[in-house]
Symmetry: C2
Subunit: 501 residues, 2 copies
C-alpha cells in the first residue's frame, strides 16, 4: 500500500464510521423512533455531523489528498485507491469552497423549509412555502457559484453532483428525443388503455398478506435476508450501513395491491446493487452505487423492465392469486399484465406509469434550468408548472398540491436530482438490450431463474461500486456510450405489443 | 453558568453524542440488524468507541475536571452541574487508571468470551468456557487493582461501579438477614404451593394477541408511546437515547402467558424512570437512573409489588380473560393471582418467583466474593455452585447449563452486577412501605389509577436522575437509610396472606 494512502486511511475510517452512524439515525428516524424524539436526537445528529465534517475536511487530509493527486503518487495506488482519491477530491470540491457557517445555515434552513413544504402541500398554500424556497434557491445558486469553474453554469454544477456523465448537453439531447417520441405514443396508448378494467387492484387486500407476499417477492429477486432487513416507513427507501447490512422499507395500502409490490421490487433492485458491492471496497468512499442514475437504473430494471413483464409473473402469478383468491380468481395473467402497465397522462409523478414517468421528469428538468438561468421567479413557478403539464400531458393540475408542491426535493435543495430517475430507466433499457443479446433473459424469467440475471449484474456492474462512473460502466458492459434510443425503442416495442398498436 | 463548566460543555456534548450513537447501534443489533452485519458493523462501533474514549479522557477535560473540583469553583456550580462533575470524576476513576491497550484487549476478549459462553451453555461444556472466564477474571482483578485505593478489596471496587451505596459491609448484612428469614419461608410456601394448578399458563396463547395485550399493559402503567417504542428481542431490555426516546423490548412465548406480560411490566418500570428524567439533565452524565439498583427498584416495583398484586389485576383481569376466553374462562382472578405468585425452590434465576429470586442472587454474590478473595478457582466453580444450590434451595443442578453456565454476565466481565437485582427489590419494598402510609395505593390500583402512583415516583425519584445516589434518594423519599427489614416483611406479609400460613 502507498505510504501516503496508508496515512490517509484512519481519517477515511473515521469519516466512514461517523457517516454510518448518521445513516443509522436516518434509518431509525424513518422506521422506528418515537414521534417526540426528533428535537433531542437532532442535537446528537448535529454533533455527529460536525464531527464528520471535521474528520473529512481538515488540513491533514487536504495535504494528503493533494499529495496523492501527484503523478508519482498515483503510480503507487491500486485501482480502488485511485478511485477513492478521486471520490475524496469530489467531496472536497463540493464542501471545501463553501464557508462552514453558510453550510450550517443552509442545513438549518432546509430542515425548516421541508417542514414548511409539508404543511403548504397539506394546506394547498404555495405562497406559504415560496419564501423558503426562494432562500433555498439563493443558497444553492451561491454555493454553485463558489464552485463553478470557467464558464460552468450553476445548474451544471448541481447536475454534476448526481451524475458527472449527465450534464446539460447530454440531458438536452436525451430529453428532446424522448419528448418527440414518447408524447405522441402516450396519447395513442392512453386512448386504448381506457378500456382496461383495473378495478380489481383497488379491492381490499389484507395488510399482513401483503407484507408476506412482498417479502416473498424480495427474496424471489434475490434479496438476502441474512444481510438485509425489510421494515415499514411512510415512503419506501433503501439505506445501507455496508454491503452486509442493506435495508429496505415498504408501505402497504389496503386498497391498492400494486403499490406495495412494485415498491418492494424497486427497493430490492437498489438493495441487490449494495449487497453485491465487493467486500474490498465496502465501507470506503467508493463502496456504494456509481451514481444516483446508476442506482435508479438497477431499481427500475427490476421494477419495470423485469417486474412488469409477463415473463416475470408467469411462474409466480398463481401464488399471487392464491394469496387473494376472492379478489383475483377471475383476473387472468394477461389481464393482470395489462393492468400493471395501464398508461395515461397523469399529474402525480410518484403514481405515474412507465410511459408517462419521463415526462414528469422532463418538466422538472426544464423548470430547474429556467430557475437557475434566471428565466423564472419562484413566484411564477406554479403557473409555469401548470402550463408545462398542459403542453406535454394535455391536463392541468387544479391545485398546487397536485402541481408544483407535490415533490419534497426542492425543499431540501435537491436541484439536479430529478434527471437521475430518467437516466436510470434509460440506462436500464440500454443494459437490457445488451443482455437480451447475450442471454435468454426471458427464458430465465419464465423458469424463475432470477439468479442468472443477478449474477450478470453483480459481475459486470454491482461489484465495482463507484470505482467506475456511469459512462465507464456502459462502455464496460455494453461496449458503447449512453444512447437514448434504447429507452425509446424499449417503450415503443413494449407498448406497441401490449396494446396491439 | 460557571466559566470553567462552560468550557467543559462541548466535550461533554461530544461524549454524549458518541455514546448515544453507540446506544443506537446496540439497540439496532438486538432488535433489527441482519445476522451477517456484525463483523462489518463492529468496525464502525470500534471507531466510535475509540472516539468516545478520546472525547472523554484527555488532557483538556482532565484539567477542567481538576479545576472544577476545587472549592472555589464548586461554589459557582448549580446542583446539577455539581452532580455532573462528580459523575465525570467517577468515569475518570474507572477508566483513567487502566492502560488503553489493556482496556481494548479486554473488550476484544469479552466479545469472544460471550460467544464462547453461549456455545458452552448450549453444549453443556463448562470446560470450553473456563479458560476464557479465567482470563476475564484476571483482567477484572488487574483493573480493580489499578483502581483500588488504600486497603480496598478488588470486589469492593467492582461492586462500587454498580452502586456506591452497597459495598460488602452493607450487602453482607442485607443478605444474612434475607437468608435467615426467606429460606425457611420458601420451604414452607413451596409445600403449600404444590397444590396450585398452573397448567392454564402453559396452554397455547396466540402471539399477536400477546403483543397487543402487552402493549396495552405498557400503556396501562403509563408508558408514553409518543416518547417510546416497543420492539422484540431474544431477551427483554430497556434502552434510551434520551428522555424523549425510551425503548423497551419483549419476547413472547406461545406456551407461556406470564412471560411476555411480566417482562413488559418490568421493562415499563425501567422506561417510566427514564421518561420522567428532567429535561434539564437528559443528555448529560446524570440524565439516567441513579444506579443499577435504583433502576431495578423501579422495574421490580411495577413487575412484582404492583403487577403481582390482586389490586392491580382487579380492574383489568376481565380484559385478559376476554383476550383468551378458551384458556381462561374457568380461571378466577383469585386463582390467577395464586398462579402468578406460585413459589418453590428452583434452579434458573430468570424464571424464579419473587420469593426464591433473592436466593439466586445471594449464591452469585457469595461465589463472586470467593473468586476475588482467591477462595475458589475458576475450575472449581461448578461444584461450588451446585453445593450452594443444594444448601440454600435444597436442589442440585443436573447439568452446568442449568447451573453455573446459566447467566451471561460473567462472560462480559460483569462481576458485582447481580446484587443490584436484590437491592432493587429491597429498595422497592422500602419505598412501597412508605407510599402505603402516604397514599391509598391499593385503592388507586383498584380504580385503575396508575397515574397517581407514577406521579409520586416521578416527583420524588425519577426526575432527579443520577443527581442523587440510592441512599440520598431513600433519605429524601422515606426519611431514613436503607433497611432490609422492609423487604423481608413485605415478602412475609404477602406470602403469609396468599397461602394462609
Amino acid at each position: 500500500m502507498s505510504k501516503t494512502f496508508e496515512k490517509l486511511q484512519p481519517y477515511l475510517d473515521k469519516s466512514m464510521a461517523l457517516q454510518t452512524a448518521r445513516n443509522l439515525f436516518e434509518w431509525d428516524d424513518q422506521t422506528m423512533a418515537p414521534f417526540e424524539a426528533a428535537e433531542y436526537t437532532s442535537k446528537v445528529i448535529g454533533i455527529l455531523s460536525d464531527e464528520y465534517m471535521k474528520a473529512t475536511i481538515n488540513d491533514d487530509v487536504r495535504k494528503l489528498l493533494k499529495k496523492l493527486q501527484e503523478d508519482k503518487e498515483q503510480e503507487e495506488l491500486t485501482v480502488n485507491e485511485k478511485a477513492i482519491v478521486k471520490e475524496l477530491a469530489k467531496t472536497y470540491e463540493q464542501l471545501e469552497n463553501i464557508p462552514p457557517e453558510e453550510y450550517r445555515a443552509f442545513n438549518e434552513l432546509t430542515s425548516v423549509s421541508s417542514r414548511k413544504w409539508a404543511k403548504a402541500k397539506k394546506d394547498n398554500r404555495y405562497e406559504d412555502f415560496a419564501p423558503y424556497l426562494q432562500k433555498v434557491v439563493e443558497y444553492k445558486r451561491k454555493f454553485a457559484g463558489y464552485r463553478a469553474k470557467g464558464n460552468k453554469k450553476p445548474y451544471e454544477v448541481l447536475l454534476g453532483d448526481f451524475d458527472e456523465c449527465f450534464l446539460m448537453p447530454q440531458l438536452d439531447t436525451f430529453f428532446e428525443k424522448v419528448k418527440q417520441d414518447i408524447i405522441p405514443l402516450l396519447q395513442e396508448v392512453s386512448k386504448k388503455a381506457e378500456t382496461i378494467d383495473k378495478s380489481y387492484n383497488y379491492l381490499k387486500y389484507d395488510i399482513d398478506k401483503q407484507r408476506e407476499f412482498c417479502k416473498y417477492l424480495a427474496g424471489y429477486v434475490g434479496f438476502d435476508f441474512s444481510r438485509g432487513v425489510i421494515a415499514e416507513s411512510a415512503h419506501p427507501f433503501t439505506l445501507n450501513l455496508h454491503n452486509h447490512d442493506v435495508r429496505i422499507t415498504d408501505r402497504y395500502m389496503e386498497d391498492n395491491l400494486e403499490s406495495g409490490m412494485f415498491s418492494i421490487i424497486h427497493e430490492s433492485g437498489h438493495a441487490l446493487y449494495e449487497m453485491d458491492i465487493d467486500d474490498d471496497i465496502t465501507q470506503t468512499l467508493v463502496g456504494t452505487g456509481a451514481s444516483m442514475g446508476m442506482h435508479e437504473s438497477q431499481s427500475r430494471f427490476y421494477e419495470n423492465i423485469l417486474g412488469r413483464s409477463i415473463e416475470f409473473w408467469e411462474p409466480i402469478y398463481d401464488k399471487l392469486v392464491a394469496a387473494y383468491p376472492d379478489n383475483l380468481k377471475d383476473i387472468t395473467l394477461e389481464h393482470f399484465i395489462k393492468g400493471i402497465n395501464k398508461a395515461a397522462p397523469n399529474l402525480i409523478r410518484t403514481e405515474a406509469d412507465e410511459l408517462s414517468y419521463c415526462i414528469h421528469i422532463i418538466i422538472r428538468y426544464e423548470i430547474e434550468k429556467m430557475i437557475f438561468a434566471g428565466d423564472v421567479t419562484v413566484e411564477e413557478l406554479p403557473s409555469v408548472w401548470n402550463k408545462k403539464y398542459q403542453e406535454y400531458m394535455g391536463i392541468t393540475p387544479t391545485t398546487d398540491t397536485e402541481g408544483v408542491l407535490q415533490d419534497v426535493h426542492w425543499s431540501w435543495g435537491e436541484f439536479g436530482y430529478f434527471p437521475s430517475y430518467a437516466i436510470g430507466t434509460a440506462v436500464a433499457s440500454q443494459i437490457f438490450a445488451y443482455m437480451k443479446e447475450k442471454m435468454p433473459i426471458q427464458d430465465y424469467l419464465k423458469q424463475g431463474n432470477l439468479s442468472s440475471i443477478r449474477e450478470f449484474l453483480r459481475d459486470n456492474i454491482h461489484k465495482y461500486g463507484a470505482t467506475k462512473n456511469t459512462n465507464e460502466i456502459l462502455q464496460y458492459v455494453c461496449g458503447e456510450d449512453f444512447k437514448a434510443d434504447y429507452y425509446v425503442n424499449y417503450l415503443k416495442e413494449k407498448y406497441t405489443k401490449l396494446y396491439n398498436l
